[in-house]
């Protein structure tokens, strides 16, 4: 098989060539205009942008649209190229939402590992006071990249879950806009490459928040960070749009909104945020880019700019973004609990609406990141009230989960372990939130390791644990085999205690006075013993992830075969064979006739599956009103 028949290889090749052409073009252009050529930044940024576009052409994500634009016909559902081995489908453009979901998933796992690796390097540096083996600048760059690559990993992980699951769960044959879906996935790759290339372009030292004026003077790497985030954000917007349309128009007949599997609610609330908030981070970063490139003084005090304005724009997205990261994970928890407790989801409607409530309130709390920023003083108290309100719908979820477990018949295979672990970790994250949301206490806690501990708990509880649960749970649906239980449990029992030690240790040093984002700390504060423990815990987590990776790779080929409804779930995707067939329910559509989670109610039916002989209305039909 020819290497360049893989879309990914073509894409990367095109990106390299495109970047070179862009740099050369802009340098010549500037030289012709008599501008200083040794000023590399404009040429480099232009090259980066051209390279990203070239990737999209190279990989083939724009081929169909180009053909359509020139009046050529394109296939509705192009079949996979039979000359290629099956694995090769995952390395090129495919319009199948399940392939795209898995592509998102692989990207997410790779980025998680990479970002985790960055963390391990600087965690090792923090074992002792003094600088061991990193320079302050390299430390700052690794710390900043750890944050933003993790965020890209989480966003692609969210994409994995919603892309793979939503169409299957609502009985659709694919997403509403399959080409847009492929585009939204593939654009992440050049985005991630741009982000990572910043490491070799002088790095950047602002953390993932990119506050000016520091970001206005940081090395060239900063611009590649901005571009990378901008592009990954584009993916988020398009992906969100696709989910919204899919959920609203492609549900199986009879599937009213309150009969959707609960994960779909979470994905829908998430998509609403992605579609409406992401623009603001793109805008704020673009403004700094333009300040650097064209001397526009948006955030330059010397030109009358205001540096606090940036923070408002930035957090207007970046707080709601937190809910983009966690809502799908919380949806996974709600989705899996009834299966393993063999009981209906307690208070389905409350859980569904709490996702929407969180998404909505999330838009009115952004300035809680700015209590010490020097913004107008009168803003602090109202934002404290709105922030603390988020605790209410979040509490509803916790209580309902407990209500679901109560008097169930609980079993704990690996996915359920990660669900339960996720609940506890997220609980710690949630409970450590109100002290930071309260202005008076935040004046002490802000920008300390307390916050670092707090958000690692929310991110792990709200995303990482549920993501692992989802992988163990739906792996059979994706591959027809299940992952090894023993290794899965080893992964869980290694990671969970280590994780508690890590974040509680982080909170502890934070309370002792450890600031965030510092390469070195004052020996007089006596923090090294705790830092050592935190670092050891971080390496244990990494070890557990190696176990997971081994299990994942091993099980694809040699896992125990699991073709049927392995977990005895009522959800639609488990009523069809594993791995799920090419067009999901094509030829086997279903109608929804009951409630999704009626476990324990004898005779309760959720779906009526049709078959090829007596076809029911196709899955594309919109659901009738309630």
């Amino acid at each position: 098989m020819n290497f360049f028949s893989l879309g990914l290889a073509r894409g990367i090749g095109a990106q390299i060539i495109g970047t070179a052409i862009g740099v050369a073009f802009m340098s010549i252009w500037r030289a012709a205009l008599g501008m200083p050529v040794n000023e590399m930044e404009p040429a480099a940024v232009f090259g980066g942008a051209v390279g990203a576009l070239a990737f999209m052409f190279g990989v083939g994500a724009l081929t169909d649209w180009t053909r359509i634009a020139f009046g050529h016909a394109v296939a509705e559902h192009p079949a996979a190229d039979p000359s290629q081995p099956t694995w090769a489908r995952y390395f090129g453009v495919s319009l199948d939402h399940k392939v795209i979901g898995i592509q998102y998933g692989i990207t997410s796992v790779l980025l998680l590992c990479l970002a985790g690796l960055f963390a391990l390097i600087f965690r090792a540096e923090l074992v002792e006071t003094g600088l061991q083996f990193l320079s302050p600048d390299l430390y700052n760059t690794l710390m900043s990249l750890h944050g933003i690559v993790m965020i890209a990993a989480i966003l692609t992980g969210v994409g994995a879950m919603s892309n793979y699951l939503v169409p299957l769960m609502i009985g659709a044959s694919d997403m509403a806009f399959p080409r847009l879906n492929a585009f939204a996935f593939w654009v992440n790759i050049p985005g991630a490459l741009l982000l990572l290339s910043s490491l070799f372009l002088g790095g950047f030292d602002t953390g993932w928040t990119g506050y000016p004026p520091l970001s206005a003077r940081a090395p060239l790497g900063m611009q590649f960070f901005f571009m990378g985030v901008y592009i990954v954000g584009l993916s988020s917007i398009l992906g969100g749009l696709n989910i919204i349309v899919t959920v609203l128009t492609m549900r199986a007949p009879g599937m009213t909104l309150f009969r959707m599997p609960i994960f779909v609610w979470a994905a829908f609330a998430t998509a609403l945020i992605q579609l409406t908030a992401t623009q603001l981070i793109g805008l704020s970063f673009m403004m700094v880019m333009f300040q650097r490139l064209f001397g526009m003084g948006f955030f330059d005090p010397a030109k009358g700019g205001n540096v606090i304005l940036f923070q408002h724009l930035f957090w207007f997205y970046s707080h709601p973004a937190v809910y983009v990261f966690i809502l799908p994970g919380l949806g996974i928890i709600s989705e899996l609990l009834p299966v393993f407790a063999r009981k209906p989801l307690f208070g389905y409607k409350w859980i569904a609406l709490s996702s929407l409530a969180i998404a909505l309130i999330g838009f009115f709390v952004w300035a809680h990141h700015m209590f010490t920023s020097g913004m107008e003083e009168y803003l602090r108290v109202p934002f404290m009230y709105s922030t603390l309100l988020v605790a209410v719908p979040t509490g509803v979820k916790f209580f309902s989960w407990i209500g679901t477990l109560w008097q169930g018949k609980i079993s704990t295979p690996t996915p359920m372990l990660f669900v339960l672990g996720g609940i506890v970790v997220f609980l710690l994250g949630g409970l450590s939130g109100p002290p930071n949301g309260t202005v008076a206490t935040d004046l002490q806690l802000h920008d300390t390791y307390w916050i670092v501990g707090h958000f690692h708990d929310t991110m792990f509880g709200g995303f990482v644990f549920p993501f692992f649960a989802a992988i163990y749970y739906w792996f059979p649906k994706m591959t027809g085999r299940r992952m090894n239980e023993t290794l899965g449990k080893l992964h869980f029992y290694l990671m969970t205690p280590a994780f508690f030690v890590m974040t509680l240790g982080q909170m502890f040093v934070g309370l002792q006075g450890m600031r965030r984002r510092i390469a070195d700390y004052d020996p007089a504060q006596g923090l090294s013993p705790t830092h050592l423990v935190v670092t050891v815990a971080a390496f244990l987590i990494a070890t557990s992830v190696l176990v997971f990776l081994f299990n994942l790779v091993h099980s694809v080929k040699s896992g125990e075969v699991a073709a049927g409804n392995l977990w005895a779930s009522r959800s639609p995707e488990w009523q069809i064979p594993s791995p799920a067939p090419e067009h999901n329910y094509a030829g086997r559509p279903f109608v929804v006739v009951g409630e999704p989670y009626d476990y324990g109610l004898p005779g309760a039916v959720y779906l009526q599956m049709g078959d090829a002989a007596t076809p029911l209305p196709p899955g594309h039909a919109a659901a009738p009103a309630e």
């Binding site: 208070g347 109560w406 008097q407 502890f508 070195d520």
Partner: protein, 333 residues
């Protein structure tokens, strides 16, 4: 019902245990300001609620896991309970009340710690990469934040370059230092414990952010007044004067006096030395060179250092002050 009673008792016991454990841990540095009292009290209250909610969820969960475990061979489902509107309303309303109460307490505490005493001592705090300077009434500038005990200070905080954040963990409050003409931010602190602490920059501000610390000394009023008086008189010794200007004009933010490396070359031992410049030329450091280096920093660049010294800094200095600085540099063997 018996399950609920059992869980109720366990939740109560666990709450007590967790709360006691949290109280036993040293969860904050020494409190050294009047503002620390209300803040620590509010944080303590937060911790108690955290202890309760944590125990509530964890105990229910673990209890269910043990008691409602699926027995081997049992393939039947659990009880069919879809939910309960009354209980959902309850666990929406009660937490709502609690968070509103906390927000109210937070606002109260904030008002309390921000109360400004008209008698407060005003100190202007200027942050720059990567140093702090403190200006007192009577044209006194210092690199150490000296404060009298039990008297309120009103800090007027600003920055020369990027965003920094003024934080002394023992005082419990922080405020960002923001660049811009109108960006002078207030912070009130009433130190109430004599001792030595550190200002620790809490906002990422570039390469040496980790090291952007400045000493704080809280002292008896008499001692503070004596210090302020002494500092407001111009010393007769030119070296001492030079030291003062070096602090006042922020030179020590980039130059050290003890030979250690910083943004600019250390002043120790430079006088009389033959230095290599960025363009490869050699220069003997004498008065004339130093005057040029201070008044036109970009004219010659020392090898290994960037053109980072503020170009206009020399214009702020009088010829005498420059002479004092040279005397200081000469004295640093």
């Amino acid at each position: 019902m018996k399950h609920l009673i059992a869980v109720g008792i366990l939740v109560a016991l666990t709450t007590l245990g967790v709360a006691a454990g949290l109280r036993a841990l040293p969860l904050a540095p020494i409190a050294a300001s009047a503002q620390a009292g209300p803040i620590d009290a509010l944080f303590g209250l937060h911790l108690q609620v955290i202890a309760f909610l944590f125990s509530l969820i964890i105990v229910f969960m673990l209890y269910s896991l043990v008691v409602f475990r699926r027995k081997p061979g049992d393939a039947s489902d659990g009880k069919h309970i879809e939910g309960h509107t009354g209980i959902e309303v309850l666990w929406t309303i009660v937490p709502l009340g609690i968070v509103l109460y906390f927000a109210y307490l937070g606002a109260q505490t904030l008002a309390e710690i921000r109360r400004v005493d008209p008698q407060a001592l005003q100190v202007k705090v200027t942050a720059r990469q990567w140093a702090w300077t403190f200006e007192y009434p009577g044209d006194v500038t210092s690199g150490t934040l000296n404060l009298p005990v039990n008297r309120q200070v009103l800090l007027k905080i600003t920055s020369k370059d990027v965003i920094h954040s003024f934080w002394v963990p023992e005082f419990r409050v922080k405020q960002d230092a923001v660049p811009g003409d109108k960006m002078v931010k207030d912070l009130v602190i009433t130190p109430d414990r004599i001792g030595e602490y550190k200002v620790r920059c809490a906002e990422m501000c570039g390469t040496n952010h980790a090291y952007m610390e400045a000493p704080v000394a809280v002292m008896a009023t008499a001692q503070f007044d004596a210090w302020l008086k002494q500092e407001s008189e111009t010393p007769t010794d030119p070296v001492a004067r030079g030291r003062r200007w070096a602090t006042k004009f922020g030179c020590i933010g980039c130059h050290t006096l003890d030979g250690s490396k910083s943004v600019g070359p250390s002043w120790q031992g430079v006088y009389g030395k033959t230095e290599e410049m960025a363009d490869g030329s050699k220069v003997v450091v004498d008065d004339a060179y130093l005057i040029e280096a201070i008044t036109q920093p970009a004219a010659k660049l020392v090898k290994g250092y960037g053109n980072l010294m503020p170009a206009t800094i020399g214009a702020d200095l009088t010829a005498d002050q420059i002479q004092d600085l040279i005397a200081l540099i000469r004295s640093l063997k």
